[in-house]
């Protein structure tokens, strides 16, 4: 069992991470990420990230930095203007992995208003699995795996931070 204090700290981290992503504050969001980050949206419900199966997104830290750099150019049409977004995180379960490391699972629903083109409201339901560690007294995220419910169906453009 993790302590109530740990749980509150982890939840606060997740809510902040969600808010920064919602508000397209790319560099502030990136500051939450550790050097060995794996940011992943697989195609299938059960998929090995190292297999030959294609993913919707499969970023190591370097590629994630490129993604953020592209968003920060200000000329990324797909997010010009950025989608207006709000997401809710529920059913948070936390497991302590060892010294100051945690695995977190949650259900997330993201609502996205696609104002850069079609002006539709898109809904992105997902299972999200995070890994966090405490480093120099602060939590950092080193894994975010997003299992979209419709990943094997047709998927709309996903150029924001999910």
């Amino acid at each position: 069992m993790i302590s109530v204090e740990d749980r509150l700290e982890i939840e606060a981290f997740l809510f902040k991470e969600a808010r920064l992503a919602d508000e397209s504050r790319y560099s502030e969001w990136e500051a939450l990420v550790d050097d060995d980050m794996h940011y992943w949206v697989p195609l299938r419900e059960s998929q090995d990230p190292d297999s030959d199966q294609v993913s919707l997104l499969n970023d190591n830290r370097t590629r994630l930095a490129t993604r953020i750099r592209q968003l920060n150019t200000g000329v990324r049409h797909a997010q010009l203007p950025p989608s207006r977004m709000r997401r809710s995180i529920a059913n948070i379960e936390i497991e302590e992995l060892g010294a100051d490391e945690y695995a977190v699972g949650a259900n997330v629903v993201l609502y996205e208003f696609r104002r850069q083109a079609t002006k539709e409201l898109e809904v992105w339901p997902a299972r999200v699995e995070y890994k966090l560690r405490r480093k120099d007294g602060e939590l950092k995220m080193f894994r975010k795996h997003i299992f979209l419910l419709n990943s094997e169906g047709s998927v709309r453009g996903l150029s924001f931070i999910i």
Binding site: V41, L43, R44, D52, Q53, V54, S55, L56, L57, N58, R63, T66, R67, R69, Q70, L71, T73, G74, V75, R76, H77, A78, L80, Q116, A117, T118, E120, E152, G153, S154, V155, R156, G157, L158, S159
Partner: protein, 431 residues
């Protein structure tokens, strides 16, 4: 024969399309869309799958031909059939999964059983069945043929042979598979279905449009150094890549003239994959092997629904006049070490699909265009570079990378099949 279900009158396609312009209703009109489903996706050849997706007997993959649900399945004699995914009894779906393996095809509704070629072999409670088994098979597409493992099919038994449809564009497919030292590709990575709310024709048009790159992809150019810097992003005088019309609606952006060293197209140093380089030189000889390693893969559309997207294979699917799918998978090579295919996979994820550094931007631009074409609409200009095109020895029309030569080639063929017998429909066409 194909049942003619048209109720309203078709527009005059030869009036909506000239070599200099096309009318926006071609992207928005329901009747145009219905005509396309009939005349292009039922009467013509459509790319279905690659045979490496269904390597063993009983393997199948589900696909759509236009809006017709079908599946491709391999039989024990190695024949590939393309079969309408609809039970001959009361129309239930036969294969629900996207892919799988079946020894026999049994309908889940009342249990009619078919063999892997679609012939009816068993009916439960046969006492009440007075029909003739041979008249109650699944509907098979009458024409199925393949080239270099790429399987195409047609609902039209009178369609000209596949090789006539491909014409000289067989060379484009050859160039794709010759990226492998054994001349074989493998589509085993799974397909990502990216939905765009735009007309399907914007996909082939944009995928071989060399004019938009500086404007749609500046964020890519600023964030990433890549082989595209020289191939598509230079100023007008320095660009060496070419735009090509291969005839029959097949089009290409030819990047190879921009590449000066081996594997530049692969975004790595030329000594990065020594085993691959050696295997290619051994397989094709110093001259041809060296040329393939320098030129890289094709970036070309095979009309109407196949895109040889460098080291990706893409299918275009029309869903509605304003909705389509861009469906991609990495083009893995046989006969190479894993790190080559690993690089192909990572590049595929970077370039194509909903989250990609490139396609996500194209997607938004296409969707904006679709909303601008609503209503009465207007004319779209396609005249750029018409006066500086050259016809090469093989008949392929070639022009500056930024010229609308591929668009004109696409629409010329489109007009010819949408308005058969049109007196102007062959003007300027190659093949």
């Amino acid at each position: 024969m194909i049942k003619q279900t048209d109720t309203s009158k078709s527009p005059r396609y030869d009036e909506l399309i000239t070599d200099a312009r096309v009318h926006s209703s071609l992207y928005t009109d329901e009747k145009v869309f219905e005509d396309e489903l009939n005349r292009i996706f039922r009467m013509g050849w459509v790319f279905i799958c690659h045979d490496s997706e269904i390597p063993t007997a009983g393997d199948f993959v589900r696909r759509n031909v236009g809006r017709e649900p079908v599946f491709a399945i391999r039989s024990r004699d190695d024949e590939i059939s393309v079969i309408v995914n609809r039970c001959a009894h009361r129309g239930n779906i036969i294969c629900q999964e996207d892919k799988g393996n079946r020894k026999a095809l049994v309908c889940q509704y009342h249990g009619w059983a078919y063999d892997t070629k679609g012939a009816l072999v068993d009916v439960p409670y046969p006492g009440g069945f007075k029909g003739d088994f041979s008249c109650h098979g699944l509907e098979r597409l009458p024409l199925v043929d393949s080239y270099q493992g790429f399987v195409f099919a047609s609902f039209n038994e009178n369609a000209p042979p596949l090789l006539d449809h491909l014409g000289r564009a067989t060379e484009l497919i050859d160039r794709a598979v010759e990226m492998s030292p054994v001349g074989r590709i493998r589509l085993s990575g799974g397909w990502v279905q990216h939905q765009l709310n735009c007309n399907w024709k914007m996909l082939p048009e944009n995928d071989t449009d060399g004019y938009h790159v500086n404007f749609v992809h500046p964020s890519f150019a600023q964030a990433i150094r890549s082989n595209y810097d020289e191939a598509v992003l230079d100023d007008e005088e320095s660009l060496k890549s070419l735009a090509k019309d291969w005839g029959n609606g097949h089009t290409e952006l030819f990047f190879s003239p921009s590449y000066t060293r081996p594997l530049e197209w692969f975004g790595c140093a030329e000594d990065r994959h020594p085993a691959y380089t050696k295997a290619m030189l051994d397989a094709y000889g110093e001259q041809k092997g060296g040329r393939i390693l320098r030129d890289g893969p094709p970036h070309a559309v095979i009309f109407p629904n196949l895109f040889l997207g460098e080291m990706n294979i893409v299918r275009f699917e029309p869903v509605a006049p304003g909705v389509c799918l861009h469906v991609h998978t990495p083009m893995y090579l046989e006969g190479v070490e894993d790190d080559v295919n690993r690089r192909i996979l990572r590049q595929s994820e970077g370039a194509l699909g909903p989250t990609a550094f490139l396609l996500a931007d194209d997607c938004v631009i296409a969707e904006r265009a679709q909303s601008a074409l609503q209503g009465k609409g207007g004319w779209l200009d396609l005249s750029r570079g018409a006066e500086r095109e050259v016809v090469e020895d093989d008949g392929v029309i070639s022009s500056h990378l930024t010229d609308e030569t591929p668009n004109r080639g696409f629409w010329r063929h489109y007009r010819r099949i949408m308005q058969p017998g049109s007196p102007t429909s062959d003007v300027g066409a190659v093949a």
